[in-house]
Symmetry: none
Subunit: 159 residues, 2 copies
DNA sequence: CCGGATTCCATTGACCCCCATGAAATACCC
DNA sequence: GGGTATTTCATGGGGGTCAATGGAATCCGG
């Protein structure tokens, strides 16, 4: 498997360490990046994390703006300066920085949410709320879609 | 690691020395440039710093303007004439010049901000303000991205 | 000799690596 | 199928290492 899928919740220990879910570790290992590249999400109180594939997306975004332009520096300040590379220990754990813990509101548990080429790091309660909201929005959007009845708003997938 | 990523804040000692963050030192070592090339940023009260890769970008920028043109001379005045090469001591520290300290408003602490091919040197408070501004700018730019609303207001790449 | 700069050394506190434990899932054998 | 052995994983802790910092010693030009 080479994509981040599914959701896992693990505990932080007394030293602030938390195990990256084994399936995610496998993806990171295949990706080849040494460490875990993390940056804050813009719209939620969560963190995006990944490896080389994720970094590649960030580089592509930056490459669209010329060096030394104000926008380039704005973007690189947020996308590079405001991100962190967490070290993964031999047991597959990372220590979340204070910045990450504060931003995401993480106390003693962490939820890892697979998103194909990256995954997100959440405080479990906040993620639950976000997931419910996302689902509601998706439903509303489908209601507004012309012809949505052909598929039906609530068939099959339960989440 | 071959890019400047993340943000670090270190203290100046009584002699005006400050440690370059170890991850940045590693990038500089790989880059091969002996010392730290510094020049004032064009748009903020901060300093751009880096090694050979950074200097290469400056050359590329200057090459876009015809020699002897006013714009070329404006740029080279700042990017070359107003630049300094700081010496890195055996413990990975530099002494910031008075010019740099005055321009950036640095007193006793320095914030180093990774920006991939270069990093910036800030007075910590000023950087905090700039970081917030940068994040707002990124939000604005993303709003303008075509297709970012495909599913809902806050889906898609947040980083 | 003197002041400034540069190199060397020491301390301390955080981080990283190794090992141990227990639980759960899987494989294996009867 | 049932029961057991084995592996995989999440979690807990201890000790060594490295980086940031402060200060002393040395070198240099005046």
């Amino acid at each position: 498997m080479d994509e981040f899928v599914s959701t896992f919740t693990n505990r932080l220990d007394a030293k602030g360490r938390v195990s990256i879910p084994a399936p995610f570790r496998a993806v990171l290992a295949k990706d080849g990046f040494d460490g875990l590249y993390c940056c804050q999400t813009l719209d939620q109180q969560a963190v995006d994390a990944g490896g080389n594939l994720f970094r590649e997306r960030i580089r592509e975004l930056l490459a669209r703006y010329p060096a030394f332009s104000p926008d380039h520096d704005y973007l690189s300040t947020t996308l590079a300066g405001d991100s962190e590379i967490l070290k993964i220990d031999p047991d597959g754990r990372v220590v979340l920085s204070d910045k990450i813990r504060d931003y995401a509101g993480i106390a003693d548990q962490v939820t890892f949410v697979g998103q194909i080429y990256k995954f997100q790091i959440w405080e479990p309660q906040r993620f639950n709320a976000y997931r419910d909201e996302a689902k509601a929005r998706l439903r509303a959007l489908r209601q507004a879609e012309p012809g949505h009845r052909a598929v039906s708003a609530d068939s099959g997938a339960s989440g």
